[in-house]
């Protein structure tokens, strides 16, 4: 029996073999991890345990516990002066990833197009494909700090584009946008009457300026599906808890799919999420401060080594180019060689877009001691292998 064509057509992740190589190796210092190195703050874990002790083990409302939706809506009002109806415009999902899948399935008819900026998180284009849509790449360049601008968007736009993805701060580049930059992107979206799927999962990890949710810009709430979650800000990746907020009719369509496939997000996670959103702000700030120091350390160190690395404005990734090292190899070969010889793991850029064969993603969600040791090993490698 053959598998479905849509699935078959998704390019096999060329990087899978490399991942297997890393997984099989011992004593690796890994800068390849896409999740916080902090454990979920204790008050949040404790609340999850408390909920189990008190028998919270049932299904919840499909949309998620009303209390949690109300808490999030209240938080958004306080944090960004952004207002949503907790019952009609908010859905709790199994991670922001599920919300992303739901949006495309909810809005796309066969063959409709979605602008997907590159480099980007690996799941976007496949999810568009699986929903029957066509992903149209928007190529951003290193010399522009991988920014999505009206110029690159106009260059990529074709007839039949219905929506666009915007992820900021961005995995893997760390790129984010000021309010003015976002206004320019919003103008483009309005001009072409696009829905924007805005993945702002790293919003709390914005270092150089205040994060501006796209939906807060004039006229954008009606054409934005705002995705976020608990994984990155509160170090809760394993809880798999995310949410979507947006126009009522789209959220209703997403809920329809969600109720048949997922039923509801796990109640233990939702209970933990309530504690996070009510009492997590202090821990979030402490983690952010620590990431910020690591960010400065790793970017300075990479540039010292001769890698061209822009200062990422958010998330916990640096995305340097290895071209200046003159190693005469692709980032994939470099990653393999570095792993073999120095046992340092990082992710080759081509995992995130076809144009990124000269880049590597370095996650600084790793202890300072690890980062320091990895830098020493990388320097050692370059001393012996640079021409």
């Amino acid at each position: 029996m053959q598998v479905a064509k849509a699935v078959e057509q998704i390019p096999p992740s060329g990087i899978r073999a490399f991942f297997d190589l890393v997984m099989g190796m011992k004593d690796v210092i890994s800068l390849g991890v896409g999740e916080p190195d902090f454990v979920t703050p204790w008050n949040i874990r404790e609340h999850a345990i408390y909920s189990l002790e008190h028998g919270y083990t049932t299904y919840t409302s499909n949309k998620g516990m009303p209390e949690l939706r109300k808490d999030i809506v209240k938080f958004l009002k306080w944090r960004y002066d952004l207002e949503y109806d907790w019952d009609k415009e908010m859905l709790i999902t199994v991670g922001a990833s599920e919300a992303m899948d739901l949006v495309f399935r909810a809005i796309l008819n066969p063959g409709e197009k979605v602008l997907v900026h590159e480099p980007c998180f690996v799941a976007y284009a496949p999810l568009v494909t699986l929903a029957g849509g066509v992903a149209v790449p928007v190529v951003t360049s290193a010399d522009q700090g991988f920014k999505v601008t009206p110029k690159v968007l106009e260059r990529a736009w074709t007839k039949g584009v219905k929506a666009m993805i915007l992820n900021y701060p961005c995995n893997p580049t760390g790129t984010s946008y000021t309010r003015n930059e976002l206004l320019a992107i919003a103008k483009f979206a309005k001009k072409h009457d696009l829905l924007v799927v805005s993945d702002e999962i790293y919003d709390e990890l914005t270092y150089d300026f205040e994060h501006t949710p796209l939906a807060t810009l004039p006229g954008m709430k009606a054409r934005t599906v705002y995705l976020n979650g608990f994984s990155k800000a509160y170090a809760m990746t394993g809880f798999r808890l995310g949410w979507a907020a947006g126009p009522e009719h789209i959220l209703a369509a997403m809920t329809k799919i969600h109720q048949y496939t997922i039923m509801c997000a796990p109640i233990t996670s939702q209970m933990a999420g309530r504690e996070a959103i009510r009492n997590g702000a202090k821990e979030v700030q402490a983690m952010k401060k620590e990431y910020d120091r690591r960010r400065h350390f790793i970017v300075t160190s990479l540039n010292e080594m001769g890698m061209d690395c822009h200062m990422p404005q958010g998330a916990f990734y640096a995305f340097p180019s290895i071209k200046g090292l003159k190693l005469g190899m692709s980032s994939m070969d470099f990653a393999k060689d570095l792993l073999e010889k120095e046992k340092v793991a990082l992710v080759p850029g081509n995992a995130f877009g076809s144009q990124c064969a000269d880049h590597i993603r370095i996650s600084y969600a790793s202890s300072y001691d690890n980062l320091h040791a990895a830098v020493v090993r990388m320097k050692h490698y370059l001393e012996h292998h640079r021409a």
Partner: protein, 161 residues
């Protein structure tokens, strides 16, 4: 709190070079600031936190928390008597506290007997000491924000998107 202090509290080994990289400040400025902290007494001392249970030959070392009630003295209050007490080498920490007693001491000795002897021959006979209550420490779980645990296995996968 100031960045440099926060970093050093977390790891006193962090060099000025590294602090400069982490904070984006010039190395010279970081060095100067640290020197000033050392001179004005903001930074008192640098030391390692050791888990005594892991140190060979150290297993017999005992620590006790001792609650001390004292009669304060005219003009100097508790300070004078506190000084007489904290100058003993056995006294590792000394706090003035509110509540049902006045001083809380952390006292260290090579055995229960040596600590008991310190209490009975040095501490209790002091003129202004009214009462003491000694609690021997059985196990240290957490000290100054650090949890004492044998290395844990890594839980994250080595590589993820």
């Amino acid at each position: 709190m100031e960045d440099i202090l926060e970093i050093l509290i977390n790891d006193a080994r962090t060099s000025a070079d590294e602090i400069a990289k982490m904070t984006g400040k010039p190395v010279a400025a970081v060095k100067k600031q640290i020197k000033q902290y050392e001179q004005d007494g903001t930074i008192v001392h640098y030391k390692a936190i050791i888990n005594p249970e892991m140190v060979e030959g150290n297993q017999n070392l005992v620590r006790a928390l001792i609650q001390v009630s004292i009669t304060p003295q005219k003009d100097v209050g508790f300070d004078h008597i506190a000084e007489r007490i904290y100058n003993f080498a056995e006294v590792k920490s000394c706090y003035l506290v509110s509540g049902s007693y006045d001083l809380l001491l952390v006292v260290e000795g090579t055995s229960i007997q040596t600590v008991a002897e310190f209490v009975s021959s040095k501490l209790s006979p002091m003129e202004n000491v009214r009462q003491t209550s000694t609690h021997f420490l059985l196990k240290k779980y957490k000290d100054d924000g650090r949890i004492f645990k044998v290395a844990q296995r890594q839980k994250r996968l080595n590589i993820t998107y």
